[in-house]
Structures are given as C-alpha cells and as structure tokens.
Symmetry: C2
Subunit: 240 residues, 2 copies
C-alpha cells in the first residue's frame, strides 16, 4: 500500500515542512502540493531531516492532477456533523471513518491511496469532499475539535504506518472510469430516465468507492455488464 | 483516568503552545511545565483556542514536584534500542510500550497518569527514564525516528483519548512509598545483605510499577508484609 499525501492549498510553509517530517518519521515519501504557498526558510527548517521529501514533492494545480493514478482517494475533515447532514440530504453517503477504521479497511490491500489534507483555515470544501471515495476524521473533543494541520497529519500517518502490504490490488482509476462509463451506457440502454442517470452513476460510484474494489472484482463487474449489454442488445435488435 | 502532561525543560515556546492545543483537542487540560523557556507571542499563537490550558499550566522546578500525586509516571522516548540495552545491563527493566499498548494497559483504570515529554534536543535523560514506571515509544521509521515533540504528543493524546474511566483506582504514591519502605525494612529484618537492599527495593519498584497496582492490591501486599514481619519478629524475639 503506497500512501500519497496531497496537501491542498496549504497557507503556511511551516506546516508543509512539518508534514514532510512527519511523513518521513512514518516511512512515507510521496508528497504532492496543490497550489501551495511559497516555501521559505521556516518551512525548510521545520522539515528538519526530511528535506529530501520536500525536494522530491511535486507541485500541481488541481486535486485531479494529484490523484490521477490513485486507486483510492481519502478526504480528511473535522466537520463531521455538518457533512453528515449535507450528505444525508444529498443521498450521496461518503463514509466517514476514524483513522483506526481506515487503517483496518486498508489492511492487506495493494495500490496507491491518496490522502487529501485541506487548507489550514477552511479545510477541504464540500465539493472536494464529495469527490472522495472515503472520508477520515480524527475523533476529537467537542469543545475544541479543530486540530493543527500537521498534528492531524501525524496522527493519520501513525495509524496508516501499521499497514502491511497485501496481495489484493485495488482497482486502477482507469478500470473504475471504465466501470462508470459502462454503467452509464447500460442505464441508457435500458432507457433509464435520462435526468436520473448522472445521479445514479454517482451513487454507484459512492457505493463501490467505499468497498475498496480490487482490480479483479472490477473486471468481474465489467464482465457482468458486458453480458447484460449483450442480452439487452439481442432482445432489442430482435424487437426491431 | 486523568492524564497529566509534564513538559520537561521545553526549549521552544511554539511547542508548548502546540501541545496545549493538542491537549485540548483530545480533552486533556492538566499541564505542568518543568523549568520551561519563557512563553512569548508565538507560543500563545500556537495554542490558538487552547490559551486557557496554557494559562492554567503550573510551573515547577523538578520532575518530582510535577509527579507527586501521580499514580503512574510514564516516560516518553525515541531511543528504544539504546535504552533497552542499558536497562538489560542494569537488570532494571522498564517496559517500553507502544502508545496503543499503553492505552490498552490503562483501560478501566482510575487515577492520575503523568506523561513526561522531554526536551526537544535530548529528550529525557537515562536517569529520568529509569525513574518512570513505564516508558512509551512511538513506532517510527528507522531511517528517521526523531519526531517533532508536539507531533509525538498529539499521537499519544490521540491514543490515550480513547480511554474510558474505570473503577480500578490505581495505588496512590503514598501507598507505593509505604510499600517500598516496608519492603526495605522487611529485607533488613531478614538480614538481607545490606549492599543489595537498595538495588532489590528498586527492582521490586520496577516489577510492581509495570503491573499498574491498584490501591486495593497495594493494601493487600502491605497486609502480607505486616504478617511476615509479625512472624519474623516473633521468631527473632523467641531466639533472644
């Protein structure tokens, strides 16, 4: 399991350096910065002996670029209740796990897991969170739930560092994209109401997203969709 | 279980503030500073919405003052191997747990647990660690094991915040002191070699320290020592 850390628009270079250090402390080194602030002396100083992690960090413009090859995209949030309500309203449940639960879920899996860490002031937006496969939130005191960004990162890395590699390769983004495309096309083929198609595809994406599909499982589902299409097309061409 | 955080001679006020914030994030508020550096604006800024924790923090001169009423004293260290060897050599094993193992050990217990966090540069000295009942060390990468002090604190608080209170009151420092005194006196009474007494008392202290004795258990052991003394005194007075 390769853990990729994606810092989304960090404001303070001290946090970038601190997070690089915490990454190296727990054996991670794949850092991507999305529109970061400039890194000055303080940021480099906070990285301490993890300057190599900072040097190798890639800078990109969008979360999409940062997560292209990721098999699973995990959003982090402190806004548990707010999001819960919003997601309930949208019927697009993104599961929100504790770091321990996430670590349990990822045990024995293989692939790239991108962990998105949001801005120091507003975190990740609801839109950004809604695009993630899963969310993770650290259980904190209700009196003062907002953690320092690099502290939250350290706690996550601590839990995820227990992970041992496994043989169950997670589905590639490419296979997942193919799956969504085939699902959409299948819905069209069965004359599913056009205005409900995108919403339903998104809901399937959510449902499958939280099952951490393996590549093999994805191929099997694609095979089933292919058989379905084959039968449907046969019936429909018979009717003509 | 009340968790007391003892910062031993912190050098950077930013870390003091950061740790106060992490404490409040996880519901802790008992902070003691041993010979700290002065806290300037940066330290207060890092405390963010946990300035109340910083305001209530007590400043003392020695670790002993900071831990007087503690039922259990836990030292933190990144120097796992070094200490292991030293302790093996001394035959005075202080168990070194992971944060998770510590949290498991403290489940259902009641009392004050003092967590000692050492200096940013040299941590806690071997002498300071040897006086603790238990040690805790965060499993980190061998390549770069040295964590930022406030990050290590956040990881510890995260693990310890899962604890729910229990009914098993840990032995008070007073009962433990009485136990060590009675043990020493018992050894004298049975003419144990004088030069081995202090070492043996210390070894007993270690053995009992890592069992997290409850108040009730301590009273029982004291009762047994009393009976032993009574019999020994009777035999010895009969001989005279």
């Amino acid at each position: 399991m390769n853990c990729r850390v994606v810092l989304v628009e960090p404001i303070y270079d001290g946090n970038i350096g601190s997070i690089a250090r915490a990454m190296k402390n727990f054996g991670f080194d794949d850092l991507i910065l999305v529109n970061p602030c400039p890194i000055h002396d303080f940021g480099w100083a906070m990285a301490s002996h993890a300057k190599d992690v900072l040097e190798r960090a890639r800078t990109v413009r969008t979360i999409e670029e940062a997560t292209t090859e990721a098999n699973l995209v995990i959003g982090t949030t402190g806004k548990r209740l707010v999001n819960k309500q919003k997601h309930l309203r949208l019927h697009l449940r993104v599961p929100c796990l504790t770091p321990f639960e996430l670590s349990e879920k990822l045990k024995g899996k293989q692939g790239v897991v991108a962990i998105l860490l949001g801005r120091e002031d507003i975190g990740l937006t609801s839109q950004e969170l809604a695009k993630c496969d899963m969310l993770v939130s650290i259980p904190t005191s209700q009196e003062y739930p907002v953690m320092n960004l690099s502290h939250a990162a350290a706690v996550l890395f601590y839990e995820l560092s227990h992970l041992e590699g496994g043989n169950n390769s997670l589905a590639s983004q490419e296979s997942l994209r193919l799956l969504h495309e085939k699902t959409r096309s299948l819905l069209r083929a069965i004359c599913y109401p056009e205005h409900k198609i995108e919403y339903t595809v998104l809901m399937f994406k959510r449902i499958l997203g939280r099952t951490e599909l393996t590549e093999r499982e994805t191929r099997t589902i694609l095979g089933v969709i292919k058989s379905l299409r084959w039968q449907i097309d046969k019936v429909q061409s018979g009717r003509k």
